[in-house]
């Protein structure tokens, strides 16, 4: 564990999380959520949990982004309020 890496990745994770929550456009939020998952994967790998990192990379960044995009297809572009 190198604390400089930890601090850098954690800062980027928090920025990505706030960005995904505050984004109006759902597609942008889904893509930023994919970036969040990849950073989370880097953090797991850096902490030595390679198996969890593998799962995070394949499920969190790969499949769940596609599932989010598939679900976003069922929504309309603009909200009414």
């Amino acid at each position: 564990m190198i604390w400089q890496f930890d601090l850098l990745i954690l800062t980027l994770i928090v920025i990505c999380a706030i960005g995904a929550l505050s984004m109006k456009d759902l597609l942008s939020a889904a893509i930023i959520f994919g970036i969040y998952s990849f950073l989370m994967c880097l953090l797991w790998a850096e902490m030595g949990a390679v198996d969890v990192a593998f799962t995070e990379a394949s499920v969190g960044a790969g499949v769940s982004t596609i599932l989010f995009i598939g679900a976003i297809l069922g929504t309309s572009r603009r909200s009414k309020d």
């Binding site: 390679v50 198996d51 990192a53 593998f54 799962t55 394949s58 499920v59 790969g62 499949v63 596609i66 599932l67 995009i69 598939g70 679900a71 297809l73 069922g74």
Partner: protein
């Protein structure tokens, strides 16, 4: 190359030639990597779940690049259901065979009562069978999740 362009023009002008060609080149490598992750699950990071997700992602990639109809043509729904059930049956069947051989559920070492290989070798083989079962099930469930989500449960179009 001309024949390939004609092939795509006949099918649907909206579908993109570059994306489809690159997906067709990429998918075999993704599938090979998924199978590698499943098979090496008991030596290295990875295993049935992760490899199954990567295998399922390769089929999802084809569904994204082409359309739902082509995706269901390449991997029919009946095969999908059969594969999910086969994986679950392999998992539970391995556990029940171990229980029948005199051990606990999923206690692979007990299989050496029937066939006289040492228990350590049986544990390696047993964990491989379980990983393969998990991989089959996760592959088909990921693909059917994608089908259902992208077509809102109708399985007739979308994405």
């Amino acid at each position: 190359m001309k024949r390939l362009q004609e092939h795509f023009e006949v099918h649907d002008p909206n579908l993109n030639l570059i994306i489809q060609t690159s997906i067709r080149i990429l998918v075999p490598f993704v599938q090979l990597f998924g199978l590698y992750v499943i098979v090496h699950g008991h030596y290295s990071p990875g295993g049935g779940f992760q490899g199954g997700v990567i295998l399922g992602a390769s089929f999802i990639l084809m569904g994204v690049g082409y359309d739902l109809k082509k995706s269901m043509e390449l991997f029919p729904e009946a095969w999908n259901i059969a594969m999910a059930n086969l994986g679950t049956t392999i998992f539970v069947g391995t556990g029940l065979v171990c229980a029948a051989a005199g051990g606990l559920f999923l206690d692979y070492g007990a299989l050496s009562n029937w066939i006289g290989i040492e228990p350590a070798a049986w544990r390696s083989l047993g964990i491989f069978a379980v990983e393969a079962g998990v991989g089959f099930t996760v592959t088909s469930v990921m693909l059917s999740l994608f089908w259902d989500l992208s077509s809102r449960g109708e399985l007739d179009g979308g994405l």
